[in-house]
Amino acid sequence: MARSSNRKLQFFVNGTRQDYNGDGDQPLLWHLRDQLRLTGTKFGCGTGLCGACTVHVEGKPARACVVNMGSLAGKRVTTVEGLAGKDALHPVQQAWREANVPQCGYCQAGQMMAAAALVAGNSAPDDAAIDEALRGNLCRCGTYARIRVAVKRAAELSRANSGKSTGRTS
């Protein structure tokens, strides 16, 4: 039988400290959605296959459906709700809006989180870098063509924001 492995820990969600006292096996996805009521992070497959639940853990993209709460002590988690500032949109969100990316929108929080992580580490991602970073983020509505355009635009906007005129390629 599945035993409950209770854990007490602290971690950070979108900059706010959270006390967790519960099943250490619970995936971050369900804690975010059911207990913290941050429902922007989506459930698509539950097994790390679709990317709908992509968040950042310590700035790196991670599948919240396969990250257990027990592994998060002291860690910083960013969800789509923490992507933008209070009013302003994140460059990725701006680019997503400009390119009219979302159709049903369900996969898009995950897509944007994956894109934000990419753009943070690569100021001028080429097609190969985009493929590499986003191939695990499925979209049944088929918005990939616009995602590609939007990622490049997001990189451009980020460069402009950070005052750099030329991008670095990785």
């Binding site: 369900w30 679709c50 979302p102 159709q103 049903c104 191939r135 499925l138 616009r146």
Partner: protein, 757 residues
């Protein structure tokens, strides 16, 4: 069209949506008025329903469209709103759209890509009526003749004096006027909004990830549940050991749910629900559950002795297509003629005199819908009241099912339509919502039932599989003299709405897209044989259109190559010149293909794809087309290296009449290409021992971004009424790809998903 004003408060105003009608101007209309008969993909009967859409202008000038249509990413809301906003001369920024709640009087379904066409025909008239009323109210308020006034930008103006009054100020007076029955419509040449690339109304909410999908609903006191369902259709619970499950922290109840018996309209599997205070606890509890099943037992009587099997299905299909003496069970008509052009004798003579005959078998497998948001519903059902929050687009079906299930009067059943994380037809069935209500009744508490992806893949409904045998007789010049298209298939109607089948045994939903073949063939017959198995089939981005488009467009290519003629030229040569060709559908309905429009999209796609420019070795192009009311042609370009198929480019030409929002139409094209390629290249659903053998995206994969071709779209200018783009554009992809693979390799692939020898 019916009109209603706050002052006389007729029936429609009693509804929740109009509680605060105040001095608003409200016009109600019926969207189904645009559709003579819903066909495949839009089951059910709208007859006798009340208005199911309203246009409401408030005294503060805000305009709201209340529609019975559901947004699921296809741009319905924005497209419809643009049409109404244009005709009303309203300010786009002050227009909002809301989905109504079903109440049993209003038919609510979104399907068959009819929404835009409906808005065009009926919605426009309602908006025009409102505009005329505002114009009249404006003219009298300004004390000038009506003919001197104009509407525009949310106001009535009098250019001669430079005065104007906003719509908001005129609403109270306009609402007292009578509604013109045949208001003059705007000339499309004067359109300002329609035709512009506009962002979807909900774009901001989507990029902020603030849209509330079914799964995002949280109701106070809500419990969470997952259900272990019978692994086979019609299985019954034999034994449940829930001791371990109930010990999982957070699990509060384990509840047996008794489903019903397939085939039926609203089939629900038997299941064991694990109820908990979080999704995770419910999932963990379910893992600890031990359930055994009676697998081929139904209401005491053994039935369908053998469990469903794809292998057996393939054998049955083959037998039905090759053995004319086959007797089928269940009183099925063994060989039903759907259409015959010419005569039996003529057909026989043609095959005897043919210079060449072709005999081809094509296969279309089961496919799953797998919308990214898995099935889910949140229900709170007590003895008094039944409230459901659900991502659903056939609300009338759910409403009726819940009335039957709960016995509650209509006003006690409240269905909230949430945002939908995709559907592709899956959510036209409402099994997932019925289950949630059954469980909530049992618990007398609000509960959210979530399907895992495995539940979705294994316990869902699938596109109808079919096998086709097409025999063609060609004359010495390569032109077809005769064509015999026989197919065997599972029938959605047989399973869900058997009364839709004609007395002759003809299943129009299954056959119509084979009947609808505009190319010149003097002797032609389409025949079908339906098979029964306990595999649930359903509309899948329309019904059987993907199957028949694949067959029709591949067989044309095969004939062209047999004739030694370029496949584009061959099509153009066989198309009757620039005329509507009519085909009889169910209930005397007639649908047409306009051969001029079809030829135009074929040429446009070919031109944009440089059809006449040869490609290097190992690469090839294929062309295919399809027509609903929208005419679509596609050219797929492929590269085959080391036995690997890589699609490099897809060019689509679309004639969907007047383009309301080119941005949204292009989005539909891009998405449809991906959907079509996934079906053509990726997995298929198979069933053995009654069990679906796939479970998640590792064994039922979707196309990913790194497999994307370049997608180009040509929207052809048109002045005819707009038609839908939500489904049809995905249909020619597989055939165009098969034809491209043949051009590149000489290998003819006649079944999806494509695997090179």
């Amino acid at each position: 069209m019916s009109a209603s004003r706050s002052s006389c408060a007729p029936e429609s105003l009693a509804r929740r949506e109009f509680m605060q009608a105040g001095g608003a101007l409200v016009i109600g209309f019926s969207m189904q008025g645009a559709i003579a008969t819903p066909s495949a993909g839009a089951p059910g009967k709208p007859a006798g329903f009340k208005p199911n859409a309203w246009l409401r202008i408030d005294t503060d000038g805000s305009v709201e469209f209340l529609i019975s249509k559901t947004e699921m990413g296809q741009g319905t809301e924005s497209g419809m709103a643009m049409v109404l906003c244009e005709e009303l001369d309203a300010d786009w920024a002050r227009v909002s759209v809301r989905t109504i709640q079903p109440d049993g009087k209003r038919f609510m379904i979104t399907g068959g890509s009819y929404s835009i066409a409906g808005a065009w025909v009926v919605g426009r008239r309602a908006a025009a009526a409102a505009r005329h009323m505002l114009l009249e109210a404006g003219a009298s308020a300004l004390g000038v003749p009506r003919a001197e006034c104009r509407t525009g930008n949310h106001a009535v103006s009098h250019p001669a004096s430079g005065r104007q009054l906003g719509y908001g100020e005129l609403v109270a007076a306009a609402a007292k006027l009578s509604v013109p029955k045949e208001p003059a419509l705007k000339d499309p040449a004067t359109f300002k909004l329609v035709g512009k690339a506009m962002p979807a109304k909900n774009l901001d909410a989507l990029v902020r990830a603030e849209s509330r999908y079914g799964m995002d609903i949280q109701v106070p006191g809500m419990l969470y549940a997952v259900i272990e369902r019978s692994p086979v259709v019609n299985g019954r619970i034999a034994h449940v050991d829930d001791a371990a499950a109930r010990q999982v922290a957070g699990v509060s109840r384990v509840v047996r749910l008794r489903g019903n018996t397939f085939p039926t309209y609203n089939y629900v599997r038997d299941g064991v629900a694990v109820v908990a205070n979080s999704t995770w606890a419910a999932l963990k509890g379910r893992r600890a559950l031990k359930v055994s099943w009676h697998e081929s037992w139904t209401d005491g009587a053994p039935r369908n002795g053998a469990l469903a099997s794809s292998t057996r299905l393939a054998t049955d299909f083959q037998r039905l297509l090759t053995d004319p003496a086959v007797k089928t069970e269940n009183g099925l008509h063994p060989d039903v003629v759907a259409v015959r052009d010419g005569t039996v004798e003529g057909m026989n003579a043609a095959f005897q005199s043919a210079a060449r005959t072709l005999d081809m078998f094509y296969d279309v497998p089961l496919q799953a819908h797998v919308p990214m948001e898995p099935m889910n519903a949140t229900a709170h059902c007590t003895d008094e009241r039944c409230e459901v929050w659900v991502p659903c687009h056939f609300q009338t079906r759910l409403f009726n099912a819940l009335r039957e299930l709960t016995g509650l009067p209509p006003e006690r059943i409240i269905i909230h339509t949430t945002m939908l994380g995709g559907s592709f037809g899956r959510r036209l069935d409402v099994d997932y919502a019925i289950e949630a209500v059954m469980l909530s009744r049992e618990l007398a508490k609000p509960v959210q039932v979530v399907w895992t992806r495995e539940d979705d893949v294994r316990c869902g409904l699938y596109s109808p599989p079919s096998r086709h045998r097409v025999r063609v007789a060609l004359d010495a010049g390569g032109n077809p003299l005769a064509m015999d298209h026989a197919f065997a298939a599972l029938s959605v109607w047989k399973q869900q709405e058997p009364t839709e089948i004609e007395p002759s045994g003809l299943d129009y939903a299954a056959a119509f897209d084979a009947i609808k073949f505009p190319y010149r063939v003097p002797q032609r017959v389409v025949r079908h044989r339906l098979v029964e198995q306990t595999i649930r089939v359903f509309w899948w981005r329309r019904g059987y259109t993907p199957n028949h488009t694949f067959v029709n467009e591949c067989l044309l290519d095969e004939c062209a190559h047999a004739a030694g003629v370029d496949p584009l030229d061959y099509r153009l040569r066989l198309l009757p010149e620039n005329q509507p060709v009519k085909f009889a559908n169910k209930g005397g309905e007639v649908e047409e293909i306009h051969t001029g429009r079809l030829a135009r999209v074929l040429r446009a796609a070919a031109d944009a794809a440089n059809w006449r420019t040869p490609l290097p070795k190992g690469r090839g192009r294929g062309i295919a087309a399809t027509v609903t009311d929208t005419h679509v042609a596609q050219v797929v370009e492929v590269e085959v290296t080391d036995g690997r198929i890589r699609v490099t480019r897809v060019v689509t030409a679309v004639d969907c009449g007047i383009v309301i929002n080119p941005q949204l139409v292009k989005a539909q094209v891009e998405g449809s290409v991906v959907f079509g390629l996934t079906a053509a290249l990726k997995g298929a659903i198979t069933v053995e021992n009654g069990r679906v053998q796939q479970s998640n995206f590792h064994d039922y994969p979707l196309l990913a971004i790194d497999e994307m071709p370049i997608i180009e779209t040509v929207l052809l200018p048109s002045t005819v009424a707009p038609s839908g783009t939500g489904e049809q554009i995905s249909h020619p992809v597989a055939a165009a790809l098969a034809n491209a693979i043949f051009a590149a390799t000489g290998q003819r692939l006649r079944g999806t998903p494509f695997r090179l020898a």
